[in-house]
């Protein structure tokens, strides 16, 4: 599934300042809860409080208006759309907001569980093991030309490529620097990293083992056995059962989803991928060195 992360979003403001009647407490709560459950961000604007600045964002302002709220209009907002919700139940407000967003050419949220690695740069040593390990091009490097070593800085570049519920890359990180905030357990979920976490087997997956050792061998052997059994016995259910058993064991050990295990390439392909990553880093280093040797860019370089 292709996930689009650059659609236009409107900022929703539940306005209860001058020129509007405050909502009844229960209705306010239900309205906020409903909009948040639908994936919207909502600002509750009320007298005397401070919220994030308008900053030229397009706004959908909902409220029980008695007059047009002048203080929002004067606060530097972009396009403003006002919707009077005086006679709307909380559920109706959700529908109205969705319709208004569509009418404004905006994107209604939802459809993707935001699952992707978040790097703790206070822990990251830039070893690039995650870059080499990830099969889905989630990681990249940036700032190669500014790096004296020409290595660049590891970054997360394609969040939407990440396989939902797969924390595998965090397990190859020797410093526990990769978080998945929606993961169930610490320190992968962002909890404090303790010394015992770094020692824990569940946090330490030796990448060399993954590149041809225990896990992969076990998977291949089991898959091969299952295939042989299937071809000799012609018993599809037995083969599937064996496959499920194998995947379940691996999944339990490392919390890696079936989908990811099913897409594991051969050990040779993974090694080839690591080799290409190393060569790419070398080429970047050489280019960076060439640029440094050449000195600063002159007007002549730009054809001026």
């Amino acid at each position: 599934m292709s996930v689009k992360l650059d659609g236009k979003r409107l900022r929703i403001v539940l306005y209860e300042g001058d020129g509007a009647e405050p909502l009844e407490p229960q209705r306010r709560f239900e309205t906020l809860l409903g909009l948040l459950e639908d994936g919207h961000s909502v600002t509750r604007a009320a007298p005397g409080g401070t919220v994030a600045s308008a900053d030229r964002a397009d706004h959908l302002v909902i409220g029980q208006f008695t007059d047009k709220p002048a203080d929002i209009a004067a606060n530097g907002a972009g396009v403003l759309r006002f919707v009077d919700i005086s006679d709307c139940a909380a559920d109706d407000i959700r529908g109205t907001v969705a319709s208004e967003i569509s009418a404004a050419g905006g994107e209604n949220p939802g459809g993707w569980k935001p699952w992707f690695p978040v790097i703790d740069y206070e822990r990251c040593t830039n070893c690039l093991q995650c870059l080499t390990f990830c099969l889905f091009d989630v990681y990249g490097v940036e700032g190669v030309s500014q790096d004296p070593e020409g290595k660049g800085q590891i970054t997360v570049q394609k969040e939407a490529n990440c396989k939902i519920d797969c924390p595998a890359c965090s397990r190859v990180c020797p410093e526990a620097a990769i978080m998945f905030p929606k993961y169930k357990k610490g320190p992968i979920n962002g909890d404090v990293v303790r010394a015992e976490d770094l020692e824990s087997e569940s946090m330490k997956v030796d990448i060399s083992a993954l590149l041809g050792g225990d896990i992969y061998s076990a998977l291949r052997t089991r898959q091969k056995d299952a295939r042989q059994r299937f071809s000799t016995e012609r018993d599809e259910s037995k083969a599937l059962l064996e496959r499920k058993r194998c995947l379940k064991k691996l999944q339990k050990q490392f919390d890696i989803p079936d989908e990811v295990l099913m897409t594991l390439p051969s050990a040779g392909k993974i090694e080839e991928r690591a080799r290409r990553a190393r060569e790419k880093a070398e080429r970047r280093k050489e280019r960076s060195q060439t640029m440094r040797d050449r000195g600063p860019v002159t007007e002549e370089d730009w054809g001026i």
Partner: protein, 108 residues
Amino acid sequence: MRVLYCHCAYAKVVPEDVKKDVLARLSGSGIAFDAVADLCELSARKDPALARLADGGETRIAACFPRAVQWLFHAAGTPLPDDGVEVWNMREQSADDVAAGLLRGVEV
């Protein structure tokens, strides 16, 4: 002082009762606040809203683990300021503790 509440809408890792209780108390308090459906999603989108949320002086945030929150903002290119930011963890703390922290010193 500003308050930011994250509803963690796309996962079930924050207890429902804690989320709803904290939101109910914020909603009933009369204060102005920003509520986001999911900080992770905003971070992945590099949503400009995060810059507005990060740039507000003293801020109290109700979300999840402080380390995750800090680096989610950083990942979006809008790091939180070093000072003046408190993060209350709805995954581990009670609704009473979180609400008390968020509304500390506020006349309700």
